[in-house]
């Protein structure tokens, strides 16, 4: 059983968290978006082996946050509250 650090509640059981996707995947703006860009936003992922930045939600407090994590070792490198800057 792994503990994940919620920036608001501290270390909690991994089952309390839900994965929300890769950080930095910004929804295209405007009405004139080429289909490749939409496909890129909707479906294409970096899916790195190693360090990655991800959006997670702590379901108990409903807060979204950014967690830096290693996908091979499962080691958590950082956990910070979601801000406009982090989402981008």
């Amino acid at each position: 059983m792994q503990l994940f650090p919620c920036p608001f509640c501290g270390p909690r059981d991994e089952t309390e968290f839900h994965y929300g996707g890769e950080a930095g995947n910004v929804r295209p703006d405007g009405t004139d978006v080429p289909i490749d860009r939409w496909a890129n936003y909707l479906y294409m992922r970096g899916n790195p082996k190693g360090t990655t930045r991800e959006i997670w939600v702590h379901m108990n407090c409903s807060e979204f946050f950014v967690m830096e994590r290693d996908t091979v070792t499962h080691k958590v490198l950082s956990s910070t509250a979601l801000s406009g800057e982090h989402a981008a």
Binding site: E14, T15, Y19, M44, R45, K49, T52, T71, V72, T73
Partner: protein
């Protein structure tokens, strides 16, 4: 000198003290160039090489495997073979694989121990039963054997299921495919390897791709830990690590990698003569020929490249298993393992040319690549040989994520993605 397996060769080797068997496949040094390279020595990669040689006469082929053949997901699955899918595109694809599996032992001269013991997908409510009827209709219209099971039918094939009146997952019926079953997973890899090697394919193990050679906008070869190897046509079948190779080739894929775990119990006498899947518990189970109870469940909840799986998911799987079969509470678990699977938004594979011309994809099989090995191999071989899609692989091209023509098989894949 005994190369071909038969009753006579077994008898002859028995008399000769088993001293004449030859190694099943050669282990040559890599050549500087080939007509085609297949990256990944799992089931799909080995099958691709075999069908390139057999169907298209292209035998100057190298299979490059970073570890040992069949050491990835081919050795980490639950060995189920089935084609009980919903959409016509999927039925064509998995139906092809299923038919080829039925003749595979003969084709490869290698016993893959296909055991068509049938499979039932349980329905636990009248609403699920209606969806079940719809699925059975779709399968029958598409020419796949399917039957709608009553509770009595389920009781006949799986009498040890928990049919108690207070069962948490009562049985209202099920979707039955009688031709479904299991096959020996290692034998599938070894059989393809042996048959491909006999046709001239070079199987090169401990050979990891470090980079792609791109000239004039086309993929012309690969850099490996065993030197540079050139070919104008390269296919990759590296389930779990498709994104890693795509990054080296300069593009992204619609894939998230997750661990999918499974486990087996100690071997016991025959007690379960079919494959049982419960969407309610998310668990599926069969008994191996050795007597072990083989238990599979859903994906781990965390994107991962760690081939081990986590405890909360295992607990969910075992809890679900014991709701279905309380009698299994006496069993001891012997092994647990996980493979890294390519999870795609529509739960259907990706087969086709990649954004880098000359590099072709066979990936995104998610939790169900094993059952599709003969089809994945046939179709990638055709792409490599001709550069063109077969009618069966066309709908699974990467372009569907831009056109929006997705094949959403989240239900047919059986396990929630």
């Amino acid at each position: 000198m005994t190369r071909r397996y038969s009753a006579l060769s077994l008898f002859r080797e028995g008399l000769a003290g088993q001293t004449g068997w030859k190694q099943a496949w050669r282990s040559p040094e890599p050549k500087p160039s080939y007509d085609a390279i297949v990256i990944g020595g799992g089931g799909h990669g080995l099958a691709t090489a075999y069908y390139l040689a057999k169907n298209h006469g292209i035998a100057r082929v190298a299979v490059l495997e970073k570890g040992w053949i069949g050491g990835g997901n081919t050795g980490r699955n639950t060995t189920v073979v089935r084609s009980n899918y919903y959409y016509p595109e999927s039925v064509e694809l998995y139906g092809l694989a299923h038919r080829l599996y039925e003749g595979l032992s003969k084709d490869l001269n290698y016993n893959v121990m296909l055991s068509q013991r049938g499979m039932v997908n349980l329905c636990h409510s009248s609403a699920e039963m209606e969806v079940g009827a719809r699925t059975v209709n779709a399968m029958q219209i598409n020419g796949i054997d399917a039957e709608l099971f009553s509770p009595d039918d389920v009781r006949r094939v799986a009498p040890i299921y928990n049919f108690a009146p207070d069962a948490r997952f009562p049985v209202f019926g099920g979707i039955w495919q009688g031709r479904a079953g299991t096959a020996r997973h290692d034998a599938v890899a070894w059989g393809y390897a042996r048959a491909a090697s006999r046709l001239g394919v070079d199987i090169i193990q401990n050979c990891e791709i470090t980079d792609f050679i791109v000239e004039g906008g086309r993929c012309r070869g690969v850099q490996t830990t065993r030197g540079m190897i050139r070919a104008d046509r390269i296919g990759m079948a590296v389930a779990g690590h498709s994104s890693v190779l795509a990054a080296k080739a300069g593009f992204r894929l619609p894939i998230n990698s997750y661990a999918l775990q499974a486990c087996v119990s100690e071997p016991v006498k025959p007690i379960l003569d079919t494959v049982v899947l419960s969407p309610g518990t998310g668990v599926y189970v069969s008994q191996s020929d050795k007597g072990e109870i083989v238990i599979g469940g859903g994906l781990d909840r965390i994107p991962s490249y760690a081939q081990r799986g986590n405890l909360p998911t295992l607990e969910t799987v075992i809890a679900g298993l014991l709701e279905m079969f309380p009698i299994f509470g006496q069993l001891k678990l012997m092994r647990q393992w996980a493979g890294i699977v390519d999870v795609v938004p529509d739960s259907s594979p990706i087969i086709g040319e990649s954004p880098l011309p000359g590099l072709f994809l066979n990936c995104g099989w998610g939790t169900g690549g094993f059952k599709a090995i003969p089809a994945g191999g046939t179709l990638l071989a055709q792409l490599l040989a001709t550069g063109k899609h077969n009618d069966i692989s066309r709908p699974f091209d990467l372009d569907r994520f831009a056109t929006g023509r997705l094949i959403d098989e989240a239900a047919g894949s059986g396990i929630a993605h």
